[in-house]
């Protein structure tokens, strides 16, 4: 299987006031195309930082990140934005929907940024919302939706541009167990049906276990990469 994403000895240090906090201390692993990968670790292990770096939201201090063989460190901020727009979809713990926009408008947003025609964007957003099972609540605003529904909208938004990679940062962290599980199942289904690569950050071992592979992260280093038996069989 082709390598879609390569992380090579990535280091990142944050400055908290006067103290330097090393978040990642040399992380390396690969992600294959079409893979469902979880990054598992306790809080403070550098999971989110790693996700931000893979999602081109931030740049590492050292090391390389290659997406489709291209070193993203060498790209300009505008090129990175374009990469986020076309190849990467984000799902956040706190959903991060724009509160004054309806579900449909939130899903449309990346297409709007890309400059797509309104009608075309609307059709595509409707289709994607159907895919996540929210066709009945398209014109509701986020505060009118439950947590699970909001996360479905967020997933639809992440998928709208048909990205190669969907990055999810604790997507179930703000949901009850049952709803959280439904969201994971949805992502698994999309991964299988559409062949998109999913990288999910979680501190929940049950969710981590659903993946093809689990990257264990602790104190900013990879402790181990494990093939998950359940992940490969759904």
């Amino acid at each position: 299987m082709k390598m879609l994403l390569e992380v090579r000895d990535v280091k990142k240090t944050y400055r908290m006031g006067k103290v330097l906090v090393p978040a990642l201390r040399g992380v390396s692993f690969d992600v294959k195309e079409g893979e469902f990968l979880t990054i598992f670790g306790p809080s403070g292990s550098g999971k989110s930082t790693l996700l931000h770096l893979m999602g081109c939201l931030d740049r590492p201090d050292e090391g390389e990140i290659l997406i489709d063989g291209e070193n993203v460190l060498k790209l300009s901020d505008d090129k990175l934005a374009e990469l986020r727009l076309t190849k990467i979809g984000f799902v956040f713990q706190f959903f991060n929907l724009l509160p004054r926009l309806t579900a449909l408008q939130n899903v449309e947003l990346p297409l709007t940024i890309a400059g797509m025609h309104e009608k075309e964007a609307r059709e595509k957003a409707e289709k994607t919302l159907k895919l996540v099972g929210l066709e009945a609540r398209m014109n509701h605003r986020p505060f009118e939706l439950s947590g699970g529904e909001q996360q479905r909208v967020a997933i639809a938004r992440a998928l709208i541009n048909d990205p190669k990679i969907v990055l999810a940062d604790e997507p179930t962290g703000n949901l009850d167990t049952k709803t959280g599980w439904e969201i994971v199942q949805l992502m698994k289904r999309l991964n299988e049906e559409k062949g998109q690569t999913f990288i999910v950050v979680t501190h929940d071992p049950h969710i981590a276990e659903t993946a093809h592979r689990i990257v264990h992260l602790k104190d900013g280093v990879v402790e181990g990469i494990k093939e998950a038996p359940r992940g490969s069989t759904k």
């Binding site: 901020d77 934005a81 956040f92 940024i113 309104e118 938004r157």
Partner: protein, 424 residues
């Protein structure tokens, strides 16, 4: 992102915070109202002054006098000199004038006629020279060869507030001539027929002849025994060339500095320039309020960027470029500028026209009487719609909003997406 969509989103953001947006826009409205108000009233004032000056002066008529306006440095003009002025290029018409300031005019029954100055002219020349003013209200302007006639200015024809001299009535003109050797004063009485009474000139100015009386040139030359002119009126072919023609006329004389030429257009242009400077100065002061509005926009937008930090983070995370974020915020500033500018232009003209209307109802038109001096006429200023100032004010409003919106917009564009997403 499509431009239309950017403006739609900007508009939605603005209408989401109605009170805040209206207050911010109000600042721009006040600034533009002040600018437009001052500009339109200023234009109106300039127009009024210009109009009055045009009525007071014949703009294409130069007035040539010997010496200066305060002292005669040289004797009156000789007929040859009048002829050489007539030959200057650009001169269309020349009318020399003899003034008889010492002349007294009485009716046959001894009542004093209110002519302040008696001028001797060639009637055909003066009629052509100031055709718009030298119009008989009563009677007819006599031919050049009709001696012993007199034409009275409108106000000169009034003996008192109610009695007027009649056309074809005879009046006596008394002049005193000083004979140098041996020194004595010769008093001459001349009976003249009132041929015409002129229409009221109405406005103040050099060529307001309301208090003048005119007699034929030949009669004056006969009485005075010499042909010496105190004033030469010169009509130019092209008003714009007035100043050049005036220079050429000066050079006709042996000593150019011994004569003075009044060039009305130059005078008027000068006054207009001064008024223009005053107007620009006032507008500049009014513009300060627009600057204050700009600071208000900067303040509100900075707060808005802080409040929307997370939203900016989301937009960047899903692929918005820094430039897109910048343009989104600038679009909001631009909309405030456009709306504030348009409303300001409307209220500016509304207020200045309203103000002019209210003020003009306070200024009652005065009762016109025959002996009223022209200076007491009321001046009503009506504002003028100036496309030029309207465009300048609008561009200024938009420019101020963009300039002051640039700082917060750049701040938004530069936000680090990871930090912005973490912002609570």
């Amino acid at each position: 992102m499509r431009t239309k969509k950017i403006f739609t989103i900007a508009w939605e953001n603005l209408t989401q915070r109605k009170l805040r947006t209206s207050l911010t826009t109000l600042g721009v409205v006040i600034g533009i109202t002040a600018i437009i108000g001052i500009a339109s009233l200023g234009e109106g004032f300039r127009f009024e002054i210009k109009e009055r000056m045009q009525q007071g002066f014949e703009l294409d008529v130069l007035i040539v006098i010997p010496g200066s306006f305060t002292a005669a440095l040289r004797p009156p003009f000789k007929p040859e000199e009048v002829e050489s002025v007539r030959n200057v290029s650009g001169v269309k018409l020349v009318a020399p004038l003899i003034t008889l300031p010492q002349a007294k005019i009485n009716t046959t029954d001894g009542k004093k006629v209110n002519a302040l100055t008696v001028g001797a002219v060639n009637f055909s020349e003066i009629t052509q020279m100031i055709s718009e003013r030298f119009i008989p209200m009563d009677g007819e302007i006599p031919d050049d060869n009709e001696n012993d006639t007199i034409v009275l200015g409108y106000k000169a024809s009034f003996l008192n507030e109610t009695t007027q001299v009649n056309v074809n009535e005879n009046v006596t003109m008394q002049i005193e001539i000083k004979i140098p050797t041996p020194p004595y004063t010769l008093t001459i009485n001349k009976t003249l027929r009132v041929a015409a009474i002129l229409e009221k000139s109405g406005t103040p100015g050099i060529t307001n002849f309301d208090y003048w009386a005119f007699i034929p040139l030949n009669t004056a030359i006969e009485l005075l025994g010499e042909e010496a002119y105190n004033i030469i009126l010169v009509k130019v072919s092209d008003v714009e060339q007035s100043e050049q023609v005036a220079k050429d006329i000066e050079n006709v004389f042996d000593n150019p500095y011994s004569i003075s030429i009044l060039v009305p257009i130059a005078f008027m242009n000068q006054v207009d320039r001064i008024l223009n400077i005053v107007q620009i100065f006032l507008i500049a002061i009014a513009s300060i309020s627009l600057l204050v509005a700009g600071v208000g926009i900067m303040n509100i937008m900075t707060v808005s960027v802080m409040e929307r930090t997370r939203e900016i983070g989301i937009l960047k995370a899903i692929g918005a470029k820094s430039r897109t974020v910048l343009v989104m915020f600038l679009a909001e500033a631009l909309l405030i500028g456009i709306i504030g500018g348009l409303i300001g232009i409307l209220t500016g003209y509304g207020i200045s026209f309203g103000l002019a209307y209210v003020l003009s109802s306070f200024i009652q038109p005065q009762q016109e009487t025959g002996l009223q001096s022209p200076e007491t006429q009321s001046i009503a200023i009506s504002p003028i719609f100036s496309p030029q100032w309207t465009i300048i004010a609008f561009i200024f409003a938009v420019a101020i909003c963009i300039i002051f919106g640039l700082y917060p917009a750049r701040k938004a564009a530069k936000l680090n997406p990871v930090e912005a997403l973490r912002y609570e």
